[in-house]
């Protein structure tokens, strides 16, 4: 969890301007939509869903004899008319066009799409794609067998076909693959709108060829297009909506939420109604340094600048996976339990900021948080610290070292731990004093081990820009040699992986140097095996094997292997 360059804070709170803005709050009456309502299907999605249900009703009508006969008559009439267009030179061409719906074409499209999703680490989209594909394929199998419809009868079939005809499997598979590609590869907006137009051509050509060759009935094709378009469209809009899971063509960083007009308007409404703040502008801020939230620079109508952190359910899930990974790799590491809701996650950060502020610690003054979408998206608001720099980029003077170590001592005395001390979370102000940000991981009454790790982490952060000897000498003003030794005995790559990466880049083995300076102290074991860890590891391994075998089996059933 890292935000960036937000604000400093004082015990008394934020700028006077913020207080002046309050007083225009408004309670949202029961039944009134939240500032950012869920509704992700959009009009076209709903229209396709209605069309698909209509198509399903039409298909079900085929199970009743009078309507089946009627629909077959209608199909026959259309196919007879189409057959009048047959010409010697055109038929081979149409047989070639059938390849658009061949298993090899579909395989190529699928595997290309999945490869891109893996390369760009769009795991959510990949997950939705696989699950919706399995449902789609099984549904298609079930419908084909349920209707067990013969191929056209009254017109000579002059092309290749496979199995029962309703719904048309090749058309459905092609439509599904192309629509899935649009929602996983083409970013929302112009690119996607163009892609939507572009896929009409191959689907239309395949449909025309299959009608010309009389391998499908027209109603088979209508049902296939309905299914092939609706299932991926609804799945992606429902479970990977663009506003929460935007497509970003880069690797390595979690995608941030899109700050589009709809979300800006929601932030405007939420800040006004819930905190009484009048928004002038809001924009993403220092995104490249943020992993666990979307940081924002908020400007109020009187030029007051605030810092905002947008948290969504996706951030909570990322935190859950991170903690599961840590538990499997390192063991319990003390209370690293995931948050069950995004609301609790935001409440924790807001509360910790308030506790730390009340303890006199230099944190960004909290102004509370607002709800954009209940249980799904919240905006945390704090002061913004102007002109502060991350300690990894700032000049570290003796004043800075002294103040930073004093802050750790104050945390110890107040019974608090920050638990995520790293250069990005320790800001240096122009006067050389520090400010702590990103208190999300903070803990009240932490274990002595957590407090010891905080001390060692702060000393490493400071030494990365200076040297171990200077930092050690300053530390002796606030901590005993034994306390310092305990800190470095408790610290390992498991406890602070990001700091260890920085030390490797730096080239100096600061950890070893600090251990030399401090008196001997027995190493504090981090790896702890517990019944929970063993159980979790077993569940993950067995679950992984089951998922892989099901995946392979389903891909095989769908003809993709």
């Amino acid at each position: 969890m890292t935000a960036t360059n937000p604000s400093s804070s004082t015990r008394s709170g934020g700028p006077a301007g913020v207080a002046e803005h309050r007083g225009q709050r408004r309670r949202r009456p029961s039944g009134e939509p939240a500032p950012l309502p869920r509704g992700t299907l959009q009009t076209s999605g709903t229209a396709w869903l209605v069309l698909a249900i209509g198509g399903l009703v039409m298909s079900l009508a085929m199970l009743i004899q009078p309507t089946a006969a009627l629909l077959t008559q209608l199909d026959t009439a259309i196919l007879e008319r189409v057959s009048l267009l047959r010409a010697d030179g055109v038929s081979p061409l149409m047989r070639g066009v059938q390849a658009f719906g061949s298993q090899w074409t579909i395989r190529l499209l699928w595997w290309a799409t999945m490869l891109v999703l893996v390369v760009f680490r769009r795991w959510r989209h990949l997950f939705v794609l696989l699950i919706s594909m399995f449902i789609f394929d099984a549904l298609l199998d079930a419908l084909v067998v349920l209707f067990a419809r013969e191929r056209p009868v009254s017109v000579e079939i002059i092309g290749a076909w496979d199995g029962f005809s309703h719904p048309s499997r090749p058309v459905a598979m092609l439509a599904f693959a192309l629509v899935a590609m649009i929602y996983t590869l083409a970013p929302h907006g112009t690119a996607r709108n163009r892609a939507k137009l572009a896929i009409i051509a191959p689907i239309t050509v395949l449909v025309a060829a299959r009608l010309y060759l009389a391998v499908d009935h027209p109603t088979d094709i209508v049902a296939a297009v309905g299914l092939g378009v609706t299932i991926p469209l609804v799945a992606f809009r429902r479970f990977a909506p663009d506003n929460l899971f935007p497509l970003v063509n880069r690797r390595g960083r979690a995608a941030h939420l899109t700050i589009d007009d709809r979300r800006i308007q929601a932030i405007h409404t939420a800040l006004r109604d819930q905190l009484g703040l009048r928004l002038r502008s809001v924009a993403p801020f220092n995104l490249e340094e943020s992993f666990g939230s979307t940081p924002l620079r908020i400007v109020l109508d009187d030029d007051t600048v605030l810092f905002g952190k947008l948290y969504a359910a996706s951030h909570m899930r990322a935190d859950r996976w991170y903690k599961l990974g840590r538990t499997l790799r390192y063991g319990r590491l003390e209370d690293e339990r995931p948050f069950s809701t995004v609301r609790r996650l935001v409440q924790q950060e807001d509360y910790m900021a308030r506790v730390m502020r009340d303890a006199g610690l230099p944190v960004a003054a909290p102004h509370g948080f607002v709800e954009l979408t209940p249980e799904r998206e919240y905006l945390l608001v704090t002061d913004f610290i102007p002109d502060a720099r991350e300690s990894g980029d700032a000049e570290i003077t003796e004043t800075t070292i002294d103040h930073a170590l004093r802050v750790v001592r104050d945390m110890w005395d107040a019974g608090l731990a920050h638990r995520d001390i790293k250069p990005a979370n320790v800001l240096v102000r122009p006067d050389g004093r520090i400010a702590l940000i990103d208190v999300f991981f903070g803990q009240i009454r932490p274990s002595p081990w957590r407090q010891a790790v905080d001390l060692a982490a702060m000393m490493i952060v400071l030494a990365l820009r200076t040297d171990a000897e200077t930092v050690y000498q300053h530390a002796l003003r606030y901590f005993t040699p034994e306390e310092i030794a305990e800190g470095f005995a408790a610290t390992s790559e498991a406890t602070r992986p990001s700091l260890h990466r920085m030390m490797r880049t730096d080239g100096r083995d600061l950890l070893a140097r600090f251990r030399q300076l401090a008196p001997p102290y027995p190493r504090i074991r981090v790896q702890r095996w517990s019944a929970r860890r063993i159980g979790l590891t077993a569940v993950v391994l067995i679950g992984g094997l089951i998922i892989i075998s099901m995946l392979v089996s389903s891909l095989h059933e769908a003809g993709l292997l």
């Binding site: 004899q65 699950i131 919706s132 399995f134 067990a148 013969e150 029962f164 391998v215």
Partner: protein
Amino acid sequence: MRRATLAAFVAAALLLTGCSAAEFASGRLPTCGEAGARTTFLMAQAAPDATLVPCLAPGAKPASWTLEDMKIDSAGARLAFVADMISDQPQRVEVLFSGACDVSGAVSVPSDEQGTERFEHVDSVEGGYVGQRSYVFDGGCVMYRFTAPGEGWSGFVHDASTVLTFMPRAEVVRLRDLALAPR
């Protein structure tokens, strides 16, 4: 609500993907008569000139037989049954239906199916039976491919002779028309 929907989405995927195409298809076996009319008609479309269409005698399929695969396309039809699938030596018969088949090397024997010529080709009788039986008739051919290891192979082949039979094409078309006719 959203989590419940997602869970339902995943559960549906798990349940549905647990069913293979063959499992779905087992509900549409080409049984002779009205019950299997839709499938036998599609098989008839797979060999448009064949005067006979293979089918399963109603109620004759032993409980130990499982449909392993069913594929019907414009080139013909293939059904595969396995008996005692969970045993060490499952016995298989493949039924291949097409417009023509190669019977060179096979021996002509008196046919037990009206309107057909029967050919037998034995590959092996050591430790079981491996061979092909072909029925040739106007416009089509049906081949049974046996792979029946173990001592009980003769019973399996006998069962196959009882289960697998034919319907005249005209009857297949009549039943299909009957199925579509308004009632």
